[in-house]
């Protein structure tokens, strides 16, 4: 039997593929790479594209779409860590800025939330007083 390697494709939200293969072809950042058993250990980023897996005893290659992520190669194990979100340095930066803005807003809203609570408490008190006055009136009448 031909030598095989174990292929795992996982994303943070789910496990996509796990099984043995004769070879895999992965869209790495620098271009497509074909990996056979006993490949040297390698670590690289991958581009969105399709991973082709040649399973033993099957003529056809399996096609699996992956978004960007990371490829790790050990001599007999290939791991593809696929991203679930669309990534990019600028995009991540934008997300961070957005998160910061939200936090600042939350801090600014803190006073307003407090004021709201105070107003609510005052309103409740006023309503209670009104009710008491009405009861008194009815009692007298």
């Amino acid at each position: 039997m031909a030598m095989t390697l174990h292929v795992d494709i996982v994303s943070a939200e789910t496990s996509i593929y796990s099984g043995s293969a004769e070879y895999v072809i992965v869209p790495a950042e620098m271009g497509e790479v074909g990996i056979y058993p006993r490949h040297a250990p390698m670590l690289t980023r991958i581009k969105p594209g399709s991973v082709r897996i040649k399973k033993p005893f099957e003529a056809e290659e399996d096609l699996i779409y992956v978004s960007s992520g990371i490829l790790e190669v050990q001599p007999h194990v290939v791991t593809i860590l696929s991203d679930t979100a669309i990534r990019g340095a600028d995009l991540d930066e934008a997300r961070a800025m957005e998160a910061k803005r939200h936090a600042e807003e939350a801090i600014r809203n803190r006073t307003s939330a407090m004021e709201y609570a105070e107003a609510e408490a005052e309103l409740a008190m006023a309503v209670a007083q009104l009710r008491a006055i009405e009861k008194l009136r009815r009692h007298r009448a």
Partner: protein, 288 residues
């Protein structure tokens, strides 16, 4: 019969409450199963990426990422607190926040300042009341955790670490032990500790990095931290649903007991009233 009517309305209101808690219990039970599946689905990725990071720390890369370099100073730390968005889930959030406050007090005593990132509405409200130094937050996550929503808030912390504004990053979340038991847990994310890299062997090898070590290691490290946080959030959601189910179940059981007791009291007063009326009639007849 004024007392009888009062008790009847009371029984009615408790019954209504019980209907709600029963419905919430069933909703939580069905959501719990899905949340647990999601938690399990997140595990393979976290395990794999931890393996890769462990391999990398065994290897001797020419580039050492700032995340793995231990720092001497410890003046300001980052803390990520994972809580739920909604309440009515027993002591889940209370326990996590109690641990948070204990830890923050400890740091405060040592003169260490704390930056906080919060996941979940409950924690956000708490931190605002506490006047903590909030740098980012993620709320309204719904029932499915999405990586997309976490990247931004986490990035704020990672940037702060890279720029040296914080010297360590911790994570507090509820660990799922089983349906009945959840435990708040504190985990150190940054700098990466030796425990994170399991099975250390002194092997002298390194990966081939394509195109260069820095970019690849940076991308990997950021994903590793995010995966840890994502897993914590997924786990917290499973905790939330099971804690809610248990809390609602005990509320329903309690309501059932209260209804039983109220019914007993109601029947007793009814019986007493009938007996009284009867004896009055009999006494009246005897007088005539």
């Amino acid at each position: 019969m004024a007392a009888g009517k009062e008790i009847r309305t009371k029984i009615k209101s408790v019954e209504n409450t019980r209907k709600i808690t029963k419905a919430m219990e069933m909703v939580a039970a069905s959501k719990m199963r899905k949340a647990q599946e999601r938690m399990r689905a997140a595990r393979p990725y976290a395990e794999k990426i931890a393996q890769v990071v462990a391999h990398m720390s065994q290897a001797h890369p020419e580039y050492r990422h700032p995340f793995v370099v231990p720092r001497e100073s410890h003046r300001r730390v980052g803390l990520i607190v994972v809580t739920t968005d909604k309440g009515l889930c027993g002591g889940l959030n209370t326990n996590a926040l109690r641990l948070t406050v204990a830890k923050m007090k400890e740091w405060d005593a040592q003169g260490i300042e704390v930056d906080v990132t919060v996941v979940g509405n409950k924690g956000l409200g708490f931190m605002q009341r506490l006047n903590a130094n909030l740098v980012s937050h993620a709320t309204g996550l719904g029932d499915t955790p999405h990586m997309e929503r976490l990247i931004g808030p986490v990035q704020v912390m990672l940037d702060a670490y890279k720029e040296g504004r914080i010297d360590a990053l911790y994570l507090i979340y509820s660990r799922f032990i089983n349906t009945m038991k959840q435990e708040p847990r504190l985990q150190q994310l940054l700098p990466l500790t030796a425990e994170a890299a399991v099975e250390r062997h002194a092997v002298h090898w390194d990966y081939l990095y394509e195109p260069e070590a820095k970019g690849v290691v940076d991308a990997l490290m950021v994903r590793y931290i995010e995966a840890e946080i994502y897993e914590a959030v997924a786990e917290n959601m499973a905790c939330e649903q099971s804690a809610r189910m248990v809390a609602m179940k005990s509320a329903s059981d309690n309501a059932k007991n209260v209804i039983g007791e109220l019914k007993l009291v109601y029947n007793k007063t009814r019986q007493a009233a009938i007996t009284k009326e009867l004896s009055e009639i009999v006494a009246g007849a005897a007088a005539v």
